[in-house]
Structures are given as C-alpha cells and as structure tokens.
C-alpha cells in the first residue's frame, strides 16, 4: 500500500514542479485579440485581405503611445469549412487569454460557430459574413456584426433585374446556409416585383461539373442566371455556361466580388453583375486613410471587398478593451452600448441583436476586367448591352 502512496506522491510532486515552472513563465502584460478567416482554400484572398486589415489595426494601435496595452493578434484559419471553423472557434474561445475576436468571412462558418462563442462567453464581431441568421437566429450577447446582411443586397439585385426588363431567372445556389439564404431572400424579392423563377438548382460548394444542371437550365431558356454562392464555383459555372452555349446574364452576389473571379474567367467575366452592401472602399468615410496605411505596409494581397470591415471590427474591439480592460464580460457589456460610433466605414450602431445597419448597397458590373459601379458603367449609360438586354 505504501508503495502506491510513494508512487502517487512522486507523480504529484513532479507534476507540481513542472506546473510551477510553466506558470512563472507566463506572467506578462500583453492583451491577445483574435482573428478568424479563410486563409486557405478557394476564397483565401478575402481571408488574407481581412487578416492583413486586422493586423493593420493592431499595428497602428501598438504604434500609438496613448494605448494602455500592447496587443497581440492571434490568427486562425477556418478554411471556409463549418467543421474546421467550429474547431478553431473552440480553440480560440477556450483560450482564456484571448479577450475578443473579429471572425469569419464565410457565412457557412459563421453560422456554425455562434453557439460556440456563446458557450464560452467570447465576444466577437463578424466582419464579412452576410447571412442574417448569424445575428438574428438567437439573441446572443456575444455576437455582433459590422457588415450588412444579404437581405438588402438581394432586394437591390431583384430591383435591378426587373428594371432592366428581365423576367425569367434560373437560380443556382450552393447548399450551405449561405447559398440557401441567398436563394430564399432573392426569390422573395423577385416574386414581389413580378419576376419568375424558372428553376432552382442546389450544388455542393466544391462541385466540379455543372453540365447536368446547366443542360437542364438551357432547356428552360432563362434570361438571367442568378448565382448564390462563392467565387470558386462562380468561376466554374460561368465558364461551363459558355461551353454549353448558354447566353444569359450572370448575376451574382457579394460572394463573387473578388479579384479571383476576374482572374479566373478572363474575358468571360465581362458583363457579370454583383452586389455588395457598403460603398466601395475608396468611397467610405475612412476609406482613403485605410487604403493609404494598408499600402504603406506593402502587403502581398489587396484588402479585397471586406478588408475595411475587418479593420473596423478590430478597431472597435481594441477601443472597447482600452475602455474597460481585458475582461470578456466587460467587453460584451461595452459592445452592447455601441451607438453612432465613428469608424472608417461610417457610423456603427449595434441593434439589440448586435447587428449594424449598412443601408447603402453598391451595384457592380464587370467591365473590361474590373468591377465597376453600375451607375458609373457604360452599361447603365446604354453604350454597352448585357446579353439579351433590349
């Protein structure tokens, strides 16, 4: 019996010893904040742009002599996959040293992780995901969002389509909650304006071959193909449309507003429509400031469509920590009181679900290899015509 006692005490002694060593090594005065985005995979340019923007916010704050704490950014990759997102979210939220985070570009990942953040009491601000359910499905005090939701986007989309005289639309959407959300909201908006959906097709987020769906669509002869999904399959669908000889307008959402879309298609991208909430980065109130500082850091990648939002989210987090200290509960309370706060994207107010309202929707059309605002484009002026436009 005593032998076992001796051995047990040996275990505990060594364990305590090691524990003491480790504990002393960790007494420091830095504050950790987190960032999660898709750093690898098909939409990585958006994730990397967002990460660079958040990093910029942290760097500028650390260079500020008036800041009370020194901030360290912990970056995790959610690969735009819900299961990976839940893992990294758990990892970040379970680490008590990380106070708050700017999270997620992909809606599929953001909706999967809200419960994790709530479980651990970890305050987050979403910077790129547009699915309304993220903030509206449950009332979690931890979850906030600076960018807008897809409802307004799809309203504007349906409006433009109807205005241009198109009546028959075929819908292709990916089967994640993101694509399904787009489908639901767009179909509602279009129906209100009298348009007709001739067919709806769900595809997987990594599908390669769309000839089956597109062949059926060809038989239905729509004027517009609405695509609710992200850039990688947007590129494939558009190029396979061309292979099958389908001459319809390619109408996308904020998911395709990315340089990768144009690079992937080359001249085929011409005439594609897209919509996004918020003004183009240059036209934002703090846009010039943001772009100048971003360029000064000489990053390899551009901030992409949502970089400015990521910067604003991180800035908001840093402001809160400065005000109430590195305490998760206090940060959550502080974020609940955000009203008409100034930021580079304009005034930010979180409603009772933590959602900021971004009223302006920018309409884009791809012209000569660039996303040009619809109102400034030659299409609106009548100098060029979309396929099938009268």
């Amino acid at each position: 019996m005593s032998r076992i006692v001796r051995q047990l005490s040996r275990f505990f002694a060594s364990a305590l010893f090691v524990g003491a060593l480790v504990a002393t090594a960790q007494a420091k005065d830095r504050v950790k904040v987190g960032f999660i985005g898709p750093l690898t995979g098909g939409v990585s340019v958006n994730g990397i742009g967002g990460r660079n923007s958040a990093e910029l916010a942290v760097k500028l704050r650390n260079a500020d002599a008036k800041a009370k704490y020194e901030y360290e950014l912990v970056v995790l990759d959610d690969e735009c996959k819900p299961n990976v997102a839940v893992q990294v979210a758990t990892k970040m939220a379970a680490d008590k040293e990380i106070i708050a985070g700017a999270t997620h570009y992909c809606s599929a990942t953001a909706i999967a992780t809200v419960d994790v953040y709530h479980k651990f009491g970890f305050p987050i601000i979403v910077w790129g995901a547009v699915l309304p359910d993220i903030t509206y499905r449950s009332k979690y005090a931890e979850v906030h969002r600076v960018n807008g939701t897809m409802i307004d986007q799809n309203d504007a989309n349906a409006e433009l389509i109807s205005k241009l005289g198109f009546k028959n639309v075929a819908v292709i959407h990916d089967t994640t909650d993101y694509g399904k959300g787009h489908n639901a909201y767009f179909s509602k908006s279009l129906a209100k304006l009298g348009g007709k959906i001739v067919g709806t097709f769900g595809v997987t987020a990594d599908q390669q071959d769309f000839t089956a769906e597109l062949t059926q669509i060809k038989a239905l002869n729509p004027e517009v193909i609405y695509f609710g999904g992200l850039t990688p399959i947007g590129v494939r669908i558009r190029s396979q449309m061309d292979k099958l000889g389908i001459k319809a307008v390619f109408d996308g959402t904020s998911g395709i507003v990315s340089d990768a879309f144009i690079q992937g298609l080359g001249p085929l991208a011409e005439g594609a429509l897209a919509f996004r909430e918020g003004a183009s980065t240059e036209k934002l109130p703090g846009g010039k400031f943001f772009l100048e500082n971003y360029a000064a850091q000489k990053y390899d990648n551009p901030p992409e469509a949502y970089g400015a939002f990521s910067y604003a989210a991180m800035d908001l987090i840093l402001d809160s920590i400065e005000k109430v200290g590195p305490d998760r509960k206090k940060v959550i309370e502080e974020l609940a009181n955000v009203k008409d706060r100034d930021s580079i994207i304009g005034k930010v107010t979180f409603d009772d679900h933590g959602q900021n309202t971004v009223a302006l929707i920018t309409k884009y059309v791809v012209q000569d290899g660039k996303f040009v605002e619809w109102d400034d484009s030659e299409y609106a002026a009548g100098k060029r015509k979309l396929p099938g436009q009268k």
Binding site: T40, G41, G42, S44, T175, F201, G202, V203, T204, D206, Q207, Q208, D209, T211, A212, E213, T215, Q216, K218, A219, P232, V235, R236, S239, Q240, K243, L244, G245, A260, Q263, G264, L265, G266
Partner: protein, 306 residues
C-alpha cells in the same frame, strides 16, 4: 425529352467516360503486370495537369504564343515528366515491397497519393486555389437545336479513342506488348524466357503514368480549370471503373469507364431534384455490382497457389 437535349447528355457522358477510361486503363495495366493497385494514379494525373500548366506559363512568359506549339509542348513535357515519375515510383516504392503482403503496397501508394496531392497544394504557388487552365483547342461549335456540338469536345474524344486503340495495338502487335502480356500472365516463366522483368515493369509504369498525364491535360482542357484535389475522386472512380470492368482486362477498363459515366449521367437526369445525388447513385450501383459479380464484369482469372 427533346432529342437535342438527349444528345447533349450523351455527349457529356461520352466525355466523362473517356476521361475515366484513360485512368481506369492505367489501373488495369498496373494490376495486370504487378498484381498491385497503385492508388496514387489519380494524383499522378493531378501532377501531370499542373506540370502542363507550369509549362504553359513558362513558355508564355518567354513569348511563345502559337497555340498548337504550346499544346504540343505541354503534352510532351507532361507525358515525359509523368513517365519518369511513374518509373521512380515503381523502382523505389513498389518493387521493394513485392514480397510484402499486397496490402502494404496499397497503403504505400495511397499515402504516396496524399504526398503528391499535398505537395501540389503546398508548394505550387497558391496551390490550394483552383487554377484556370488555358483553352487551347479551337472553340468553334455547331448548334443543332438544343444540342451544342463543340469542336474541342470532338477533338478530345477522337484523341482519346486513338490513344486507346494505339494502346491495344501496342499490346497486341508489338514485341514490347507481348513481353508485357507475358509478364502479366506469369512472372517466373517470363523471366525464364529471357524477358527483363524490371525493365518491363518500369516501362509499363511509364506508359500508365503517361496516360494519366494525357487524362490530366484533357481534364484541364475540358473544365478549363485544375485544382489539387481533382485526382482523388478521379482516381477512385477510375479504380471503381477498372474493377467493375474486371481488373487485368483493358476492355474491362473501357467498359467500366463508360459504364460509370453512364451511371452518373443517368443519375443526373433521372433525379432532377438533386443532381448532386448522382455520385451517391453511381457508387451505390458500384457496390451492388461488386456484390453480384465480385471479380468484375469481365471476370479476372484467379489461380492461387496453396
């Protein structure tokens, strides 16, 4: 259903079938010669496609832009590179394990496939993203009602058929083919007859991998896109096709390849609410076929020494 639409579906099916067949034939060749399943075949296809892309980018950057020349160069480089890769795999990974249980070879080639796939993803610049593949075939097309007959599809189909016929001729009419068939039938006797076993194995691997390279380039030309994961599914489908057709028989591989494509197309057409189910449908049929005819439709002749 509209005849034009039907023809379009048939055309889609034929193209898919051609690509699966090229992969399946490779599997069957390897199995016939060495009695092993080389699972990395699909990923060799991926590496071949990426090699071709890299060649294209390299040549374009030095100013060559003549399309036939580019296409030829890409094919040649990809074929030679993959043949070399195939020989290396045979020499250093497969042959040393000939005395081990066949499971080990299966596993090692599976892992090798993963290695190849991950190396492309990690070391090719931005390998994780899908890459646009240039459209180098003439893009004219004839519209016959609902059916859009594309010139590049016809060319690829014709090329595929030629290659398979060429392979068949190689195996049936040449001395090399005779040697390969001899080794496939009985290794020991073939050696006794003076056939250089190692050389034949290496050559067979080279041929199979070259086929994979062609399939990879074809895939790139058809979809105008390649990504690092394309080999995995193609490999499994090619493997299934080779098995349903009966391992060891080239005709079986052809049959299996087109059969699988037909299953997928029928699945896509017959289940209109979710054509995504087509893969589920195809694989279920494969499993059912295996239950019915375990050694494939064109039966493999197994004799085993007790």
């Amino acid at each position: 259903m509209d005849v034009g639409l039907l023809t379009q579906y048939v055309m889609n099916g034929l193209m898919l079938g051609m690509m699966y067949t090229l992969v399946a034939v490779g599997f069957t060749l390897f199995f016939g010669v060495l009695d092993i399943i080389k699972f990395s075949h699909g990923d060799v296809l991926t590496v071949g496609a990426f090699t071709a892309l890299a060649t294209y980018i390299g040549l374009r950057s030095v100013g060559i832009s003549s399309t036939p020349l580019l296409l030829l160069a890409m094919l040649v480089v990809a074929i030679l590179a993959m043949a070399a890769l195939g020989m290396l795999i045979a020499r250093y990974l497969v042959m040393p394990l000939r005395s081990a249980p066949p499971l080990n070879t299966l596993l090692i080639t599976l892992m090798l496939g993963t290695v190849l796939r991950e190396m492309v993803r990690l070391f090719y610049p931005q390998g994780a993203n899908p890459k646009p593949f240039p459209a180098l075939l003439p893009t004219g097309s004839i519209n016959l009602g609902q059916f859009n007959l594309r010139l590049d599809n016809v060319i690829m189909l014709a090329a595929g058929v030629t290659i398979i016929i060429g392979l068949r001729l190689l195996l049936d009419r040449t001395k090399l083919g005779l040697a390969i068939r001899a080794v496939a039938q009985d290794e020991e006797t073939a050696r006794t007859m003076g056939i250089n076993f190692t050389a034949i194995v290496l050559i067979t691997f080279a041929i199979g991998s070259a086929l994979a390279a062609v399939a990879g380039v074809m895939n790139g030309l058809y979809y105008n896109e390649i990504n690092f994961g394309m080999g995995l599914l193609l490999g499994v489908i090619g493997f299934s096709a080779a098995i349903i057709g009966g391992l060891g028989s080239i005709y079986g591989a052809i049959l299996g390849g087109f059969l699988f494509a037909a299953l997928q197309t029928i699945g896509a057409v017959a289940l209109p609410f979710a054509s995504a189910y087509k893969d589920v449908f195809a694989f279920t049929v494969v499993i059912a076929l295996m239950a019915w005819r375990p050694t494939g439709l064109i039966q493999e002749k197994i004799s085993e020494r007790v």
